[in-house]
């Protein structure tokens, strides 16, 4: 399947669903994902006229309407001629995967989506036509760890990283049938794709026992103290593990860690120093891109001094 360039033809060019967070608080993730893709010779084609995946606002009130919204994005990908859509946000990735699962397993959901599609004048998406992947899958499958290692121009050597995957990348397990399939597949108990990619870029991954633990993200506004306590424990544990940086792969996790790091200092008086960076920002710098190019200056967690001291960016 691999071409001479070492890039998998299946993932060289995929449909791109950034989702709304990547146009707002997660802008640096959008920027760094696109920059890494370009540096690796991969093509991302943004879905035309995409809509919200239903996120948590719609899903919490009417899950079948959320399924319709996610399914519409899958249908757009299909109409554009793609069999694969890449969603870097854990929430979007999760919702598209859930839509796929529900459409394949629940006739009532299928019926609602068909009805809403007809009302909207859209073709209803049929399950099984488009596969949703995460940015981690995309880079790992398209380039591979060896391919990435060969392209590293500025090793992350000496940088100690705790990889935080959050919850929606692996839970609930039944909507991710491709995971837990043995060697080479992602694990829902102990995910490792981000660890693998950053290790290939030269980083030293620390053992982090809370890589999928709850950050209280969905309740960050309604119950801020619970979120702050949970995030503070994620941060202090990363520091106890010796991490300089927590790598993230979701804009919601990323903002939650950054905002509650600041809130923990203000409300509980507990200051933590670990930096928070998107894994795509770290990979981008390893590929020789500047810190600015991958949007490090857009992060609330200011890692610029640390990166300069390590000769990165």
């Amino acid at each position: 399947m691999s071409e001479k360039s070492g890039i998998s033809s299946k993932y060289r060019k995929v449909a791109y669903y950034p989702g709304c967070a990547l146009e707002g608080t997660g802008h640096a993730y959008n920027r760094s994902t696109k920059a890494v893709g370009k540096a690796l010779g991969l093509d991302l084609v943004e879905l035309k006229n995409w809509n919200c995946c239903g996120a948590m606002e719609v899903k919490n009130i009417d899950p079948k309407l959320q399924t319709f919204l996610s399914a519409r994005n899958l249908e757009i990908a299909e109409e554009m001629g793609f069999a694969t859509v890449m969603a870097p946000c854990n929430g979007c990735y999760h919702n598209l995967k859930k839509a796929e699962y529900d459409l394949a397993h629940d006739p009532a959901t299928r019926e609602t989506v068909e009805m809403l599609s007809a009302k909207a004048g859209d073709v209803a998406y049929q399950p099984g036509h488009v596969s949703t992947i995460h940015a981690l899958d995309w880079i790992r499958e398209a380039i591979g760890e060896e391919g990435l290692r060969a392209r590293v121009r500025n090793s992350l050597k000496g940088l100690k990283i705790a990889n935080y995957y959050g919850c929606m990348y692996t839970r609930p397990r039944h909507i991710f049938p491709e995971k837990d399939q043995g060697p080479g597949s992602e694990s829902t108990n102990a995910p490792h794709f981000m660890d693998d990619l950053l290790a290939a870029a030269g980083a030293e991954n620390v053992e982090y026992p809370l890589k999928t633990a709850c950050c209280g993200g969905a309740h960050t506004l309604s119950d801020s103290d619970t979120s702050t306590r949970l995030v503070l424990n994620l941060l202090t544990t990363a520091e106890a593990c010796g991490a300089d940086v927590i790598a993230t792969e979701c804009p919601t996790c990323h903002s939650g860690l950054e905002l509650h790091q600041a809130r923990a200092a203000k409300v509980f008086g507990t200051v933590t120093h670990v930096k928070i960076l998107y894994f795509t920002q770290l990979l981008g710098m390893a590929l020789g891109l500047s810190a600015r190019r991958v949007g490090v200056h857009e992060n609330l967690s200011d890692a610029r001094d640390l990166l300069r001291a390590r000769g990165l960016g």
Partner: protein
């Protein structure tokens, strides 16, 4: 001492003390975490079971708590990780490694206690994300999760 205070105390102990008492401290962390899940079960009108899964009561209690409440799987990995770190602390010959494992175990135990305490106050914690369920649908008596009539 509350489970959270127990975890905090163990996390703050000096390396030598952790390494010297690794076996009883690991047991104390497991028991403190079991009591967290017992509180959850009692708070939901259930009698905590005495069974074990893979030799650990903590896993059996978690399974009991998660039955019918899939969002409780948000702390499944924390339970398994806690057991892993405690096992490693018990079997390691290296003083520094024993202490490090126990400290990590204490931090995982702290997370479990914080999560369950948060969920006792706010039942929706983990519901939307970890179980992919809607928060409001069931509150409004919409068993199917669909707002009947809205789509017609």
């Amino acid at each position: 001492m509350s489970p959270l205070a127990r975890a905090d105390t163990i996390a703050a102990m000096p390396e030598a003390a952790l390494a010297e008492q690794a076996v009883p401290l690991a047991q104390a962390l497991l028991e403190a975490s079991e009591s967290v899940l017992e509180d959850w079960l009692r708070g939901h009108g259930q009698v905590p079971g005495s069974g074990e899964i893979e030799g650990f009561r903590l896993l059996a209690l978690h399974r009991q708590a998660a039955r019918g409440t899939p969002s409780f799987n948000a702390c499944r990995e924390s339970c398994r990780e806690l057991i892993f770190q405690c096992n490693m602390a018990r079997v390691s010959d290296d003083t520094a490694a024993r202490a490090r494992r126990l400290r990590l175990a204490a931090m995982v135990a702290r997370h479990l206690a914080l999560f369950v305490a948060g969920k006792l106050e706010n039942a929706g914690l983990g519901e939307f994300c970890c179980s992919a369920r809607d928060l409001r649908g069931r509150d409004e008596g919409l068993a199917s999760g669909t707002m009947e009539g809205k789509h017609g």
